[in-house]
């Protein structure tokens, strides 16, 4: 059959390429914009010869190896803990109703911006923090905060705590989503039931029978958080040590330093960061191989119980602990936003006032509209591109190449610090253009992978026969797409839209750097304020940062209930 082409099909067929280009070009150019100065080329400072001075300076920086080690260790350890806890939770609550409760509670955590989470957790665990206030002086006997170094401890424990609390929901939700996929859902449930009927305790059964099938689906999210946490900025900045800090934080401080010559060292550092991230990913891959080698024998040794009751109880405790940590962090924020003076060791503010809220709300309209505009435009673009690319997959009747699929996740895997500064440099070369446009394109880079991830499963699950019926009834491909496929995807589309919005709302570095500081969003305001000292105002902004995406998800959940109510 000769392929039918129309305006629609042509554009649809371009879209996977367009997608890749939209991601590859900025990231590539950004990397270039960092690679060149790393090797000494920075004309603005009069440096135009290639050399490796930057790398030498980097190597000679006091504590450089500690910085790299800190980044490496915290990301690996936190990811390991996250994976273990996720497995425990899944094993304990497999097929029980509790799992869906856990899913619902942890879901909203996903969309909390990292900076907000770090601030909230920092307040929870500090010696003058909420936990101490709750238990002092009646349990601990202290009237003044003890002089213990947590957060900001030199071993990065606080960083690990922060990362674990923030990334656990992500892995859990991604795994649950994978579990519910038609292809493996049936198989896994069947296997699990079979194991139980063979006498395996459910907990052990999960690890020996379900996990091997499930793990490949967890791999991509795991690599994503490995990459992210090895180069994360907000959490180590707020919760981590500063002598020395993690590598990414140090790089950012060099980029921002008043001494402009540190630029070159910073660029070299960004390249070094890339290597650290690669090393982290490689180490995890090695670790996978090791575990598989060790587990081979234990998988078939016939042992059916491994102190499962105890593990189960431990899991319950951990889950409760995590839920409480999240609830109390949130409570702390809310209390701060309404707090008059709040002296230690009171567990409740001395007075409650609404001035902070009034203060912020009176100054917020422009910030809010910026946040919304950038979010709506970037998410809409991402959604349209994603839908077209997925449609192209079906029209061409072959799946997107693995190269394309991997490239879409590129912005998530490459440390943003490594290419964002380069994009700014490229932007300066081009000159002109509205700042809004640049910020939107920057957000697009980070929203696209999540939108694609979220939409792909639903789109690919569509029953193709509906399209066939419609075609046989004389519908053109465009009509099929618009009137048959999209309506079937309305709920996933709403959810994906809310997710995209949430990702856009939480972006900090892209907004700041690409907007030249001209575009104020909720997140940039919150971070700017957190560098001042009004914790109360910061708390108000953080709560708004949380409320906005939560509102988006609420709408995504509510709208179908209202509009499609009759269809039930």
């Amino acid at each position: 059959m000769a392929p039918y082409t129309s305006f629609f099909t042509r554009w649809v067929n371009y879209s996977p390429t367009l997608l890749v280009v939209l991601i590859l070009v900025p990231v590539g150019a950004g990397l270039l914009g960092v690679l060149l100065p790393a090797f000494g080329w920075l004309p603005a400072l009069g440096e135009s010869t290639f050399n490796t001075r930057g790398f030498t300076a980097l190597w000679n920086t006091a504590g450089f190896m500690s910085m790299a080690l800190l980044s490496y260790a915290t990301s690996l350890i936190s990811t390991l803990i996250v994976v273990i806890i996720s497995c425990f939770i899944l094993a304990s609550y497999f097929n029980s109703k509790l799992l869906s409760y856990v899913q619902r509670v942890l879901g909203p955590i996903l969309v909390i911006p990292h900076a907000a989470a770090a601030i909230a957790i920092g307040f929870l665990i500090a010696p003058s923090g909420f936990v101490m206030r709750l238990f002092s002086p009646w349990l601990t006997g202290v009237e003044q905060p003890p002089d213990i170094l947590l957060p900001n401890d030199p071993f990065g424990l606080s960083i690990i705590i922060g990362l674990v609390l923030k990334e656990l929901p992500f892995i859990l939700l991604m795994t649950l989503a994978a579990l519910q996929q038609k292809e493996i859902n049936h198989t896994i449930n069947a296997h699990f039931s079979l194991a139980k009927s063979l006498g395996y305790h459910p907990f052990t059964g999960f690890f020996k029978v379900v996990l091997p099938t499930l793990y490949p689906f967890m791999r991509l999210p795991i690599y994503a958080i490995l990459a992210y946490s090895s180069a994360s900025i907000e959490i180590p900045l707020i919760l981590g040590p500063n002598a020395p800090p993690t590598l990414a934080v140090a790089i950012m401080q060099w980029f921002n330093d008043v001494d402009l010559n540190l630029r070159i060292k910073a660029s070299a550092g960004a390249i070094a960061q890339l290597f650290v991230t690669l090393l982290v990913l490689f180490s995890w891959w090695l670790f996978e191989k090791l575990v598989m080698a060790f587990a081979k024998s234990s998988l078939v040794n016939g042992r059916r119980v491994y102190a499962d009751r105890a593990w189960r109880i431990l899991t319950h405790c951990i889950t409760l602990l995590i839920i409480f940590a999240i609830i109390f962090s949130l409570m702390g924020l809310i209390l701060w936003s309404f707090a008059g003076y709040w002296s230690f060791p009171h567990a409740f503010p001395d007075t409650l006032v609404s001035t902070h809220w009034q203060n912020v709300l009176s100054q917020i309209p422009e910030t809010l509209s910026n946040t919304l505009i950038v979010g709506v435009v970037s998410t809409s673009l991402a959604l349209v591109l994603t839908l077209f690319a997925l449609e192209a997959e079906q029209q061409q009747q072959k799946p997107l190449s693995t190269a394309t699929s991997l490239l879409i996740y590129l912005p998530l895997l490459i440390p943003s610090i490594a290419f964002l500064f380069g994009i700014v440099w490229m932007k300066e070369q081009i000159g002109g253009g509205s700042v809004f446009l640049y910020v939107i394109m920057g957000h697009l880079l980070f929203v696209l992978p999540y939108v694609f991830l979220s939409m792909a499963t639903s789109f690919r699950k569509l029953d193709q026969r509906y399209a066939a019926v419609a075609a046989s009834l004389g519908c053109s491909p465009w009509r099929i797409f618009w009137q048959v496929k999209l309506p079937q995807l309305s709920i996933p589309m709403l959810f994906t839209y809310a997710l995209g919005l949430a990702i856009s709302f939480s972006q900090y570095l892209p907004t700041l750097l690409l907007g030249g500081g001209r575009i104020n969003t909720l997140t940039t305001e919150a971070v700017a304020l957190s560098s001042g000292s009004s914790r109360r105002l910061t708390a108000v902004y953080v709560i708004m940062q949380l409320a906005l995406p939560a509102l988006g998800f609420l709408l995504a959940w509510l709208i179908p209930k209202i509009i499609f109510r009759q269809r039930q």
């Binding site: 920075l42 004309p43 603005a44 400072l45 920086t61 006091a62 500690s66 910085m67 500090a126 003058s128 003044q144 905060p145 002089d147 170094l149 900001n152 401890d153 030199p154 900045l237 040590p241 500063n242 002598a243 020395p244 921002n256 330093d257 008043v258 001494d259 402009l260 630029r263 707090a339 008059g340 003076y341 709040w342 002296s343 230690f344 007075t351 006032v353 001035t355 203060n359 100054q363 700014v424 440099w425 300066e428 070369q429 000159g431 030249g516 500081g517 001209r518 104020n520 940039t524 305001e525 971070v527 700017a528 304020l529 560098s531 001042g532 000292s533 009004s534 914790r535 109360r536 105002l537």
Partner: protein
């Protein structure tokens, strides 16, 4: 008989002759004085004419700038961590919109170097006319850096009519930033001096000098700290210590602080500081193993009761923080008896600013009597004025009279003012401090 002249005749002739000389002399004198006087008159007339011409030129120039500035949107890149400062800038924006039809936008920075990076990036991309930064709140090291790299517009401050109100000829601090000449690249905006504050409930007797600080910290271990370099406030504490600890040195050695450091002066002047810090650190918060990143965190720690003593550059910040519930009501401010590090902070215009005229109009307004008086009110910002009150009229001076003092505000003190060392010491201090106490 004709040869015989009468002697009186002779005398008379002599008198007449003398009179004639006298008259001629007198006339000559008169002519000369008239000439001289008229010359003087001409000179004054000339001077009046020249200064009038200059004034006329300046006014014409200023009128031109005012006209160009209308309808412009000016982007003011300034630290945004203090809500009071932000509100003040909003107030200024309202005023300049009403008066000059200039729209002022406050771009809130987490740190000033963000804006410096921006201008640098623009320069590297050969953007010489369309810079995004129109005005920049800077001083000290930031200024020195930008000046070194030619990132600031030179010689524009004299164009501003209100600059004369600062009486720059009598007040050299208006044209020197940490001792480095400003060359008209930045206009003075306000003054700051290092002020200490303590929690009077848990620490009723605060240290009043640096040696007392040492003793106090042994009595209250873990209740004091400072921000680590390169933070501005942390460095200011170190500079204060540096100056006070070296005051006992030979004056020739001491004045090396105000010049570029050399290997020799480094050794001589920094040694007392490291000794002092080595003795102090074990009694600091977290035993000196962790220092907060920025000065703002210090105030948070005081509010949380984690530390009992701290310092700031903006004294009026403290009563404002108490009013905002960020600090307890028992906080009291004071100035160290052995001196307070003082400086002036400025506003600069980048070389490639897109809206230079608008920026100049705004800066001029910032230096106006009205804006400076408002800024000095403790309920607004409380930042000291840079205007020379002695050249103002009495009713204008009254605008600057302080209203009722807040309990926690800084009382009038006799603390001597310590000038900032040469900016090159800042980098040096940072490097050396990080080497000793930084990365482990």
């Amino acid at each position: 008989m004709s040869s015989q002249k009468h002697p009186s005749h002779f005398a008379a002739t002599r008198v007449v002759h003398q009179t004639k000389c006298g008259v001629i002399l007198l006339c000559l004198l008169m002519v000369l004085s008239f000439a001289a006087l008229s010359q003087v008159d001409t000179n004054t007339a000339n001077t009046k004419q020249t200064s009038a011409a200059i004034d006329l030129n300046k006014t014409k120039q200023w009128q031109h700038i005012l006209q160009e500035a209308q309808q412009q949107t000016v982007y003011f890149y300034a630290w945004g961590g203090d809500p009071q400062v932000n509100s003040y800038i909003q107030w200024v924006a309202k005023q300049v919109l009403e008066r000059y039809q200039v729209k002022l936008v406050h771009v809130k920075l987490a740190q000033t170097s963000d804006a410096v990076s921006r201008v640098l990036a623009e320069k590297s991309a050969q953007n010489t006319t369309n810079g995004q930064v129109d005005m920049l709140w800077i001083n000290g090291q930031n200024f020195a850096n930008m000046a070194k790299n030619n990132l600031l517009e030179p010689s524009w401050v004299e164009q501003l009519p209100n600059f004369t109100l600062t009486n720059p000829t009598q007040n050299p601090a208006m044209t020197r930033d940490f001792g480095v000449p400003t060359q008209g690249m930045e206009a003075p905006w306000g003054r700051a001096a290092l002020t200490f504050y303590h929690n009077s409930k848990y620490s009723p007797n605060p240290p009043m000098t640096l040696p007392e600080l040492q003793t106090w910290s042994r009595q209250h271990p873990g209740r004091f700290t400072y921000a680590k370099p390169p933070d501005f406030l942390g460095l200011s504490f170190l500079k204060y210590a540096l100056i006070v600890l070296n005051q006992s040195q030979d004056p020739q050695v001491f004045k090396l602080l105000y010049e570029t450091p050399t290997t020799n002066s480094q050794q001589l002047l920094l040694k007392p500081l490291w000794q002092f810090l080595d003795n102090l650190h074990p009694y600091l918060w977290r035993e000196g193993s962790y220092f907060v990143n920025d000065g703002a965190s210090l105030r948070r720690l005081v509010g949380d009761n984690e530390i009992l003593l701290s310092f700031t550059f903006t004294a009026p910040d403290i009563p404002a923080a108490v009013a905002r519930y960020d600090l307890p009501v028992n906080i009291r401010s004071y100035a160290m008896l052995d001196g307070s590090l003082s400086n002036v902070h400025f506003v600069g215009i980048p070389f490639n600013a897109a809206h230079k005229s608008g920026a100049k109009v705004v800066v001029n307004y910032l230096m106006s009597i009205e804006a400076q008086a408002k800024k000095q009110q403790s309920a607004v910002w409380g930042d000291s004025t840079v205007l020379d009150l002695s050249i103002l009229k009495t009713q204008q001076q009254n605008l600057f009279a302080s209203s009722s003092q807040h309990l926690s505000a800084l009382p009038v003190s006799n603390s001597p003012s310590l000038s900032e060392p040469h900016p090159a010491w800042v980098n040096l201090l940072t490097e050396e401090w990080l080497k000793r106490y930084g990365a482990h």
